[in-house]
Amino acid sequence: MTSTLSILLVVSAALFCTGLLAALSRRHAIFILIGIEMMLAAANLNFIAFWRFGPQSAQPIGVMVAIFAIAIAAAEAAVGLAMVIAVYRHYRTTNVDELDQLKG
């Protein structure tokens, strides 16, 4: 009833939702980043899975996309963490509930 691909997709969905959970529920700013990284990893997992189960075309597009996604995610993490540090320096807090300067 369930194919291997479905299991992979379920795992990926679960990883995504875990990431969402981390991003939504935790008060600490770093967790938002961790959650986003997890969501990105889930997307990558999907790319790889579909590449593996898709037709074996001439170019492993899924793999290439995953590689670039990892590189970009690394850049995002670096900048994001730098921002967390900068925000911490400025406001002396990393609690995102207190970082609401943009509220209406």
Partner: protein
């Protein structure tokens, strides 16, 4: 593809991910995060994308995780109030998960048998990166450089 290995790996990875999302101590969560990513890398190995798996370990465990723990170290405060948990997020996450599950099981075309695949060699990936994907590669190079400089400027001591 060993289904048992897959399921064990899935449980391991998801447990680590859940730990990363919920553990109250920041450092534990960060380390769980690293473990979860090792699990994801293992998935890539299992799926035959060894290179991506290695890159995943290299980038996330070797670099991002260390960055995260460094950030935790540098922003250490009275962490008590940062440990709060927003329960509404759980509901939303579960709702999304249910929605995704429904979508996955609704889709009929996923029942594909694993195709026989040529192993994807590193040489092939390198060749592709230098031919078809050379522009994306250069763009990513520029992006990483920009991110490096941007991160440095962000964390530079503010001159008063």
């Amino acid at each position: 593809m060993n289904i048992v290995a897959l399921i064990i790996l899935a449980i391991f990875t998801l447990a680590a991910a859940l730990a990363a999302a919920t553990l109250p101590k920041l450092m534990h969560a960060a380390l769980s995060f690293a473990v979860a990513f090792v699990g994801v890398a293992a998935f890539y190995f299992l799926l035959g994308a060894e290179f991506v798996g290695l890159v995943q370990v290299f980038v996330y465990v070797g670099a991002v995780a260390v960055l995260v723990v460094f950030t935790i170290l540098l922003t250490r405060t009275d962490a008590q109030k940062d440990r709060g948990f927003n329960w509404s997020g759980v509901l939303v996450a579960i709702a999304v998960f249910v929605g995704l599950l429904w979508a996955i099981f609704k889709t009929q075309s996923l029942a594909i048998n694993l195709p026989k695949a040529e192993p994807l060699t590193v040489a092939r990936i390198g060749e592709l990166l230098m031919t078809s994907y050379v522009w994306p590669l250069q763009c990513v190079g520029v992006l990483l450089t920009a991110a490096l400089i941007g991160a440095l400027i962000l964390v530079m001591e503010e001159k008063r």
